[in-house]
Amino acid sequence: MVALAQAEPAVLPGMAVSIAHVDHSFDLDGQVLPVLSDVTLDIQPGEFVALLGPSGCGKSTLLRLVAGLDTPKSGSIEADGLPIAGPDPSRVVVFQDPTLYPWRTVHDNVALGLQAQGLLKSHRHRIGEAISLVGLDGFAKAFPQQLSGGMAQRAALARALVNDPRLLILDEPLGKLDSITRISMQSELVALWQRSNFTTLLVTHDIEEALFMATRLVVFSGRPARIKADIAIERPYPRHRSDPYLTGLRHKAMELLGLAETW
């Protein structure tokens, strides 16, 4: 809530997402592989929700459903009370891989969303703003292959933010970065989220990352994923990794993931 108090006056509030009794499965050569089982989750506007679960449990599938890239086998997903029919630039995804187009410069990659929506002429100034927001000033003319992993992920973040998303979907965005870059980008992401007022949905398998960044932690079981626990993280920002409150929650999350004996 501190975050919302600090935020600049906003044009559009964050998006409310309502996931109700969602089941999903994949068909693999005639075999049905269930991935999500009766997932129900209500996300309030402006929340920062972290989804935590064992690798391959179906968290990313849930994100694809929320993004509108796939449709659930049963159950409903609503954004601001309206069912999600397909992808929409108000719900933008940042994937684990930056997936920048190698034939476009950083500037042109960031411009992608505006170009796709035909807003390039009227919103051109936003491209430079987004690039400096993620700290890539001076790299607008660089090609993706000239960037380091962290810089490429920053560019991917700028490409998402330029569209003024109301829901930012982060699918392990820091998963492939070195730990130093990851730690500094965690703080930057939180600062970005505090400054604007989009809702954030983060998939991660880093417990500490989830506790450091989110206002709410949702723990999933192994495949098929069902919600095991929904924990509010009532701590103001900036947070400290050594905070005993967070350490306590970390212990609890590890218990939920069946890793208590390593504590």
């Binding site: 995804v93 034939w103 476009r104 410069t105 992608l112 796709a116 090609f143």
Partner: protein
């Protein structure tokens, strides 16, 4: 090459037969490599464009085509060289015009000076066409600089 006799039999003039042979020789590598280029575009490229509001048309023009272009150029290079080979062979075998035919004819008259001159012209034409294609490629795929060298 195997199509030569069939083509000369099926087509009314040796001109149209050689057009057919060249189309065959260039069309196949270009088509196959364009196809493989388009199908090798990672699906995540499309996911990105879709979440950012890209239409079907946008996905084709702004994602599939630029992503497949490096493969298309490989096909074009293969097509260009095989077009040359087929043309010259066709001229040597049936077509009554062109450098390949002239080469054969000059050789028949033991006019070796003329023969080597024809050979030289052929080499110059072929290499300048390849150079031209390289120029076009370097212009369109300038982003590949430092990424791929061939």
């Amino acid at each position: 090459m195997a199509w030569l006799p069939v083509a000369f039999f099926l087509f009314p003039s040796s001109w149209s037969a050689s057009v057919f042979l060249i189309a065959l020789a260039t069309g196949i590598p270009v088509a196959i490599l364009t196809w493989s280029g388009v199908s090798s575009v990672p699906s995540s490229y499309y996911d990105i464009a879709r979440t950012l509001g890209g239409s079907q048309r946008f996905l084709v023009l702004r994602v599939a085509i630029p992503a497949a272009l490096p493969h298309v150029f490989v096909g074009l290079f293969m097509g260009l060289t095989s077009a040359f080979v087929v043309l010259v062979v066709a001229e040597m075998m049936g077509v009554k015009a062109g450098l390949g035919w002239y080469l054969q004819w000059a050789q028949g008259w033991a006019a070796y000076g003329n023969m080597y001159a024809a050979l030289l012209v052929m080499a110059v034409v072929c290499s300048s066409l390849v150079t031209l294609l390289f120029k076009v490629r370097n212009h369109l795929l300038s982003w590949q600089k430092g990424l791929v060298r061939w």
